[in-house]
Amino acid sequence: MYQTFNLIPIQSNLKNTNKNRLDPISNNFLSNNNLSYDKLLFSIYWNNYFDQAVYQETVGNIKLFLKNANKIDWINNFLSNNSLSYEQSFHPTYNDSTDSSYFDKIVYLENLTKSGNIGLFVKEINKIDWTKHPAKHFIYVIRLALEVEAVFAAQKLSLLGAKLYPQNLELEKFAFILKNPVLISKNQISNSDLEANSKWIINNRQKYKGQWVALKNGLLLEASKSLKTLTLKFSEHKNIYFTKVH
């Protein structure tokens, strides 16, 4: 493992040079740290100091790139230079193109759910200007809200997310599934057998304890330990009432 180092002091020196024309400061840095130019450049690449175009221009060797990828402790370099913990860097919503203050808010919300402070979690969700956040932040926080049973917050956020990101199919699905209940139909069809089935259960509960029963018009069709056995037998199960008796 290579030591973690601060790249900033030599960044400007390296930016406009190549391996054959290294300045004395960078050269000293490399030899003191037992690093080759390529390894260092790879590290810099991973730390986002240079973009890929600069990297390819100065090295242009994909084989070397991949070889060095296996050697350099780029995770530690990346974390130390971006003041991130290991956990944060692998956070599902982390994206280095997003303003870090938005990312910080998501981590803050997550910590509130971990500490069980659900009231504050919901309040903070309402305070945030969500128009600045990417779609993945919405999805992540909706999931957090669902897991702590903040259903209304999840519902509200999914509707807002779907409105702000109409092309995002995941947010569209979240909004559809989480929206308020919708009446599909109401009709006057009488189910005169319901009371008869209920009476059967009262009278036979002890005898069939622990079993699934299939009932119709207050009569037992079949009993089984497994619901699957009954549904296979009565594949046309319209108006058959399946319940487990305890």
């Binding site: 699905k173 599934i177 308020n180 209940p181 009446l183 599909i184 319901l194 209920s198 699934w212 009432y241």
Partner: protein, 156 residues
């Protein structure tokens, strides 16, 4: 008969008989269990105002063969102190009336996956509060074991 306000306007428009019995083998208390249909599959569900979601028993979910790809997948939900992994679906729930109007309502429904049989111990289907019951009017008559239900015009 449905329940009415003093001025004659209906409070609820239907009732169904309920069984007052334990929902699982390990339950020491009785639950209010009513007949419902989930996606046209007729089964029982118990009224649980402590549960935010409608929860579909894994065995019933298997019987109605719902499509997981259309769900919000892998949500953790705390049931009786156990974190259960499951999917949230949009399914139709029908409250069946012995007298009055059947109500078919589309709602979010939690369906457990990768069931640990010991943890679930034959957990039944549940009608929860936040995503279902709080959008309805309901009442019980414990003398006749009747569960009254109806729409709230301002919610559904």
């Amino acid at each position: 008969m449905a329940l009415s306000f003093a001025d004659g306007t209906p409070f609820t428009r239907a009732w169904t008989p309920y069984d007052y019995r334990p929902a699982t083998g390990s339950d020491s208390t009785e639950r209010i269990m009513i007949p419902i249909e989930i996606e046209s599959f007729r089964t029982s569900a118990f009224i649980d105002t402590a549960s935010p979601y409608v929860v579909c028993s894994p065995e019933v979910a298997d019987a109605i063969a719902i499509n997981s790809s259309a769900a919000i997948q892998e949500i953790k939900y705390n049931i009786r102190g156990n974190k259960i992994l499951g999917d949230l679906h949009r399914l139709s729930i029908t409250l069946l009336a012995q007298e009055g109007e059947n109500l078919s309502i589309e709602s979010s429904v939690f369906v457990p996956q990768n069931i640990d049989k010991e943890v679930w111990a034959n957990y039944p289907t549940v009608l929860g509060l936040k995503t279902f019951l709080e959008h309805l009017r309901f009442a019980i008559d414990p003398l006749k074991n009747r569960f009254y239900f109806g729409l709230c015009s301002y919610t559904i």
